[in-house]
């Protein structure tokens, strides 16, 4: 889309965008992440969506210079993300980056992630651990369970016409077209995952992947706990089935929807 590109050139382009971070009990890590973003994208506004934390996440984030959207009730990851999208739409942002507040995503990757969106090459850029890159960064290590989960989701995506290598990546950049879609009632608030990417594809948004490096998550994956994988798979399949009720919209530039990074 051209909204993002046309806004360039006036003053600091970073000021027209927003970096959002959903956070729940991340007081020990979020300060460094906000600092890192301010260094990587000088002048960019940072919004921390506090998902009803019990620790000092709000205070730490404010002290680091971020604006804080404190949710009065615990909404979960998707509900927190959508709060950020609503804020971006309300404050007329030209672009938005979402990243995790636990330090898994590196602020240094943000400019490269944002570039294809600002240049109008895609509407939604996904930071991927699995796109090969030129420099010598070490590959991301995944254990068998996570790897199986990633492969199944990637396969689901391919069945729906989306080619992504890292379907669970929470590191994404987007323009106003994606924001408009994600603030609609179609956004799968419960477990935003491959179904978000399929929704975006179905509504004619152009996706691309950008190689990034991620640190191992400090928290255990929920795919490791008991019956959660079964429940997760069930929710995902239900969500995908619900997706088929949403009318299709063709991409303005067909055939340009993969491997833009």
């Amino acid at each position: 889309m051209s909204e993002a590109a046309s806004g360039m050139g006036t003053a600091n382009p970073n000021a027209r965008g927003l970096v959002i971070m959903p956070a729940r009990n991340e007081a020990t890590r979020i300060g460094d992440v906000v600092d890192g973003v301010s260094r990587a994208l000088p002048g960019a506004r940072v919004l921390v969506i506090d998902d009803d934390s019990e620790d000092a996440t709000v205070e730490v984030a404010r002290a680091a210079g971020a604006a804080v959207a404190p949710l009065p009730i615990h909404l979960g990851y998707g509900g927190a993300l959508q709060t950020g999208y609503h804020f971006a739409v309300r404050t007329s942002c030209a672009w938005l980056i979402q990243m995790d507040s636990d330090g898994q995503h590196r602020p240094e990757d943000l400019p490269a992630l944002l570039a294809p969106v600002l240049e109008g090459r895609c509407d939604l850029a996904i930071g991927s651990r699995f796109v090969p890159r030129e420099d010598e960064m070490p590959g991301y290590e995944m254990d068998a369970v996570r790897s199986l989960g990633r492969r199944s989701l990637a396969l689901l995506g391919r069945l729906g016409g989306v080619r992504v290598t890292d379907p669970t990546s929470g590191l994404q950049a987007m323009n106003t077209a994606a924001l408009e879609l994600f603030t609609s009632s179609w956004y799968p608030v419960d477990y935003p995952d491959i179904d978000v990417l399929l929704l975006a594809h179905r509504r004619g948004l152009r996706l691309c992947e950008v190689p990034v490096t991620m640190r191992p998550s400090p928290r255990p994956s929920m795919l490791h706990s008991g019956w959660m994988p079964v429940y997760y798979a069930y929710r995902m399949l239900l969500s995908l089935w619900a997706l088929s009720a949403i009318p299709r919209r063709e991409s303005p530039e067909p055939g340009s929807d993969s491997q833009g990074g």
């Binding site: 604006a67 804080v68 959207a69 009730i73 609503h86 804020f87 608030v189």
Partner: protein
């Protein structure tokens, strides 16, 4: 010995039994009491009007079934049950499932509305936050 013919004979015997006046009276009283309670709750503002149609429909349905002679027997023959009592239980269960489903739908709608309110509150407070940040600059 043809067992199915014997069963069929037994079933028609069950169905031809005269309707119990006691059951009928209880059903009429029950449905009238239900209608009265629903109306009273609406009057007390304890039950909002929009929630009442399904309750009124159930109690009026019960009243009709109990007041029209032979209706319960006819329904019993239709659905293949043996006794009017089973028919009553079956209809009651259908009503309960319908009520539960309507509650689940209302509950889903309410949780969406609560989520939207929560997001709205957070967005407004973030807007205030940004105003503060701007003033500090």
């Amino acid at each position: 010995m043809d067992r199915s013919a014997e069963l069929e004979r037994l079933r028609s015997l069950f169905l031809s039994a005269p309707e119990s006046d006691a059951t009928r009276t209880l059903m009429v009283i029950g449905s009238l009491v239900l209608i009265a309670i629903v109306l009273w709750l609406v009057r007390r503002r304890a039950l909002r009007e929009e929630h009442t149609p399904i309750w009124i429909a159930i109690s009026v349905g019960l009243a009709i079934v109990s007041l029209v002679p032979g209706m319960l027997g006819t329904i019993t023959r239709w659905i293949g049950a043996w006794t009017p009592a089973s028919t009553l239980f079956f209809l009651g269960e259908v009503c309960l499932v319908a009520l539960c489903l309507s509650f689940a739908i209302r509950h889903s709608r309410t949780s969406v509305e609560i989520r939207q309110l929560g997001q709205e509150v957070a967005v407004l407070r973030a807007t205030l936050d940004e105003l503060d940040l701007d003033r500090a600059d």
